[in-house]
């Protein structure tokens, strides 16, 4: 199998414009005859469903939460990038493109990234028009801040709740279409399988989470905007419900999964405090704009931070990276935090933490300015830790936050199954091996508002859709396979809870496939995951039945998929004998301890095909070419 990425040829500056012209259109009168399924209601899925509804398509949108407004995009704090250059500080579409390709450590497609940078500008306009209350200057103009890894101020924000406000904009646009009757919303409904008929994605099998009913939904095309898979680590900044099931079940039906080992560790999260810990709380990266990161110079220094004089503090990011300082990209900041903690210089009870100190900024700008910028984050920190960050430095530690890998898609955002499109964090396409801050919201909305409405039209206009319904043998087979999994999970009634398995899997993943990886560790992890998965299918205890609200059953299905994904992540990490972005293999580093890429052998997308349970997955490579941004060793010194 070879992959056709449908990348446009010719100059990159006009590539998307030319592609749009070449895409076939659906006659306005015919749009309502085409039905589209959208799974997920976050920034990608929600904006896609709303926009396709506006165009007149017949849309059904599904989410597992009780309302589309709860999708995890809502938790994004810091902001959204756009190449508006409102600050007159040298930004441009080309610079955003350049920064994103470089920030992704030269493992993303240039054409995709260029399109993203180009569209970023329209996203801001659209969101402002919807009433998103972005932060403003006294004069009334939109304001910006700089964000990790960028030397220009191009990040738009709404206090520390940018994701919430953008999602509510998309949600409101979606509800408007619900009212218009173009979109039907199915909350508390989880996709459990993809229906592929004659080689095309034609529907999904869902479970009604309240009644337990399995339903078949048939359509002309299926869009997944189902987010990332960070919860494979159990502890992450993801919402508890975030899962890989929709993507994974599509993978099992033939969609390739690309770069699964590219995971992002966010440098600024509240450290773990105990065994009961259910998730990790992110403190926005924007805090690094004014906070200074340090640890004591001496190992095991247990003095309280105010007792440690300036000369005995190591502002290690400022020391090692004088030009970017505390604003180095996330992968660099995270690895350095781990390194100083591994040296025994970490702070807090567990020794797994570094200080993020605002005292200089408060002295320089005044408490009111800091409170204006980060007030809600400071409140959140105090609520959780019972410490006042206006007086005591915050303690932070890296945590899993985002996954760059995902289902493989071409330039049209179509997976390897025709008719199955994948948007936002669920796909792999735009961030390479490391995502820059404030780019996730940008990509979700770019895909949903401005890319899919064009590319799906081309698919619908150029294909025929023979009538099909729930009685189709493929639909029935999918229902049977879902029922079999559900029945099996409910029948084991073993001795261990789903969460206990999930925690153990997460620990393996964090230890061996987390911030740094080794061939030896990954091999060990693969063995451990297989053994644990086997135990899971023998010994898990899922109480209750399948015909009502059963949160343990929901979790069990998702954890079962995380086992398979976790193994694939380790296989991918083992195969990639280089360090790039969020993937750091200890064997491959420079003398200064920075990630060492191997462009000669690994400048490709690793797309994995499913070959049945227990069989080794198939690796298909999509070579990456760089015509505009010349791959170089990333330097933030």
């Amino acid at each position: 199998m070879t992959l056709d990425s449908k990348l446009p040829s010719g100059p990159i500056e006009t590539a998307w414009q030319r592609t749009r012209f070449d895409l076939k259109l659906v006659n306005p009168a015919n749009k309502r005859r085409h039905s589209i399924i959208v799974v997920g209601s976050g920034l990608a899925g929600g904006s896609a469903a709303a926009t396709l509804g506006e165009l007149g398509y017949n849309v059904r949108c599904f989410c597992f939460q009780d309302s589309p407004r709860r999708a995890h995009s809502i938790a994004a704090q810091g902001g959204i990038n756009a190449a508006k250059n409102y600050q007159n500080d040298g930004d441009s579409v080309y610079r955003l493109f350049y920064d994103t390709v470089k920030g992704g450590d030269f493992r993303a497609r240039e054409a995709n990234v260029y399109r993203l940078a180009e569209i970023s500008v329209s996203i801001i306009d659209q969101c402002v028009a919807q009433g998103v209350p972005f932060a403003r200057e006294y004069g009334g103009a939109l304001t910006n801040r700089s964000f990790g890894g960028a030397q220009v101020s191009r990040t738009f924000y709404a206090r520390g709740q940018t994701g919430q406000q953008l999602l509510l904009g998309a949600y409101q646009a979606l509800e408007r279409q619900v009212h218009e009757g173009t979109v039907t919303m199915y909350p508390r409904t989880e996709m459990l399988d993809l229906i592929v008929i004659d080689g095309r994605a034609r529907g999904i099998v869902t479970r009604n989470l309240i009644t337990g009913e399995l339903d078949v939904h048939i359509a002309d095309a299926v869009i997944l905007g189902t987010g990332g898979y960070g919860n494979v680590y159990y502890l992450s900044t993801n919402a508890k419900g975030s899962n890989v099931t929709a993507s994974w079940r599509a993978h099992r039906r033939g969609a390739l999964f690309a770069n699964p080992c590219y995971t992002q560790i966010h440098p600024t999260c509240i450290p773990v405090s105990g065994d009961y810990q259910s998730k990790l709380t992110l403190m926005s990266e924007s805090l690094r704009n004014d906070g200074r990161i340090w640890v004591p110079v001496k190992k095991g220094d247990k003095r309280s931070p105010d007792q440690i004089p300036e000369s005995e503090r190591d502002y290690y990011l400022e020391r090692r990276y004088p030009s970017f300082g505390n604003l180095v990209p996330r992968d660099v900041a995270s690895r350095n935090a781990k390194a100083v903690c591994d040296e025994g210089r970490g702070v807090g009870e567990t020794g797994l933490g570094v200080y993020l100190d605002f005292s200089d900024a408060i002295k320089r700008l005044g408490r009111h300015v800091i409170s204006e910028r980060y007030g809600n984050l400071f409140d959140m920190y105090q609520r959780i830790t019972d410490e006042d960050p206006y007086k005591v430095p915050m303690r932070i530690y890296p945590a899993i936050h985002y996954t760059m890998g995902g289902l493989w898609v071409d330039y049209h955002l179509q997976s390897t199954i025709p008719g199955l499109f994948v948007l936002g964090e669920a796909n792999f396409s735009d961030h390479g091996a490391n995502r820059l801050g404030a780019s996730a919201l940008m990509q979700g909305l770019s895909d949903g508002y401005f890319v899919i409405p064009y590319t799906i039209g081309n698919y619908l206009a150029t294909n025929k859709f023979p009538k099909a319904d729930a009685s189709h043998p493929e639909a029935q087979a999918a229902v049977a396979s879902v029922r079999q999994i559900t029945d099996k999970l409910l029948s084991i009634k073993g001795h261990r809870t789903v969460d206990s398995f999930h925690r153990e899997l997460g620990k393996i993943m964090w230890d061996e496939c987390g911030m740094s990886r080794t061939a030896e560790g990954l091999k060990k992890a693969i063995g451990q995951i297989r053994a644990l998965r086997e135990e899971f299918w023998q010994n898990v205890n899922v109480p209750g039945s399948g015909d009502d609200l059963n949160q343990s059953l929901e979790k069990a299905g998702r954890v079962a998929d995380f086992f398979e994904l976790g193994e694939l992540m380790c296989i991918d990490a083992l195969e990639r004998n280089e360090s790039c972005g969020g993937h750091f293999r200890e064997e491959y580093q420079t003398a200064e301890g920075e990630a060492q890429r191997d462009d000669e052998h690994y400048s490709y997308v690793a797309a994995w095909g499913y070959r049945g349970p227990g069989n080794a997955p198939e690796l298909i490579k999509e070579p990456l070419e760089f015509d505009y941004v010349h791959p170089s060793q990333r330097s933030y010194k």
Binding site: E54, K84, G131, G140, A173, E175, N208, K279, F450, P453
Partner: protein
Amino acid sequence: MKLTLKIWRQKSRNDKGQFVTYTMNDVNPEMSMLECLDVLNETLIEKGEEPVAFEHDCREGICGSCGFMINGVAHGPERATTVCQLTMRHFKDGQELVIEPWRAKAFPQIKDLVVDRRAFDRIIASGGYVSISTGNATDGNTHLIGKDTSDRAMDAAACIGCGACVAACPNASAALFTGAKIAHLGILPQGKPEQDRRARGMVAQLNTEPFGSCTNIGECTGACPKEIPLEVISVMNRDYIRASWKKRDDDVRTVRPVTDWSLSSKP
């Protein structure tokens, strides 16, 4: 620390339901209220019992999924805090916590602490937006919006739709929720063209749902984890009165509240 949890258990909407008492001997004061329920649920599952169903997702106080009454107070004793961020250090060793779901006719029970809040979605669908399709927008800086105006809109827009305002209100009114959206959009120039239509549509839907009327008691704003100010209710009333003076509600289309889940999945 030791705690006694008296939790409302109800198998389904038609089940009568009852309080069941659980004793927890080893609660870590650093854990959140939801993590405390996680620990309880793990022990229940190990004993072969069904865990307590409760709604949760982000556990960062922003998604609005979680929420229940603790000793009669929505989201418990801490101001501006959802139950997912409420740490157990705010309770005393040996304390009894009575935990029950939001109680409101407009929020039908589903199971244990889980209720159906789709009424909120229907209220938003009847006008809680700016009717601007993708692609229609002008440049983001076309409208200059003073910082104070923008901040006021943001204060109202911070609503997370958790339903605490309804649960706290003796009348089970959703005026704070509805007012927050009407104020958020009505304050901004982008929302002005539809200000009247929005107020009429949303208030009509609010009245169609079995919420109670607002009698300006103010429990809602006290319980609100995002401290949405009570003024948004005055903004809603003002917008609604002005809009109805200009035009009657004849053209407003409300939707019938749906409480069944099975039906909704098969349109």
